[in-house]
Amino acid sequence: MRKTWWKILCVILLIYTFIAGLLTDVPRLPALSETIRNLYFHVCMWFCMMILFTASVVYAIKYLRSNKLVHDIYSRQFAVVGIVFGVLGYATGAVWMSYTWADPNNNSFQSFSAVAREPKLIGAAIALLIYFAYMILRDSIPDMDKRARVSAVYNIFAFALLFPTIWIIPRLLPSLHPGGENGNPALDFKDIDNNMRIVFYPAVIGWTLLGVWIVSLKIRLQLLKEKSLLQ
């Protein structure tokens, strides 16, 4: 165990998130009702993904500046765990959406065609697919240095494409998903109830720390593997 204080903080914050997230009072809005509690779980997945992808691109740039393979390992592991959180965010969003957006009077197939046109969903899917391509591109290059260089450059490209796909285009088009024309969902001070904020912010920190913890384990394992390969 190394540097344990933030791991303990992660455990405490997440246990707090689950207890307070399920037990505190939330405002009951039409259609959403109690499902707004998903804010502590679904939204945090995307926050965590964004932070991990940012760390990944920082290490990609670091690799290009220093040519140290350690930075490449860091960059890859941050991207992998970022993808995991993105997929979790997508899956939880799919469940949440099917009980709040889908028209109960229509059959599910017809409401699916309406839901599938959501610009935010398409944007997020494109962003995730670009990162899937990053993994495939990496693993298809056998030479170590070439793989590190090409994937670092591609990582910067993928991160740059995150902005149009999940930040800009969804904000230009009308959508059922909150946020967009009127600013940031969840972060806007007029948008979110005060009682929810005292659970939401710790939840974001807790989930992000959990992601970083998993990343740190994967990095250490990979470093051990590479060491035994080199010797």
């Binding site: 037990l23 913890w213 035994s228």
Partner: protein, 70 residues
Amino acid sequence: MSKMKYLLMSFLMLMSFFITNAQDKVEMADTMRSNGRIYVVVVVVLVILIGLFLYLLRLDRKISRMEKEK
């Protein structure tokens, strides 16, 4: 050592007896059954979460041991 374990076990058994006893007296009115039984969900979710944390901790320990061996 084993004597201590026996003592502890018998103490725990006794405790569980007291808990079930208390439930018999006040029927269906303990915290776990109040408020639409949401607390049951909280406990289930916490068990999963703590299980995942223990798994992560074990992985962390294992990797630390591997790092020391190298």
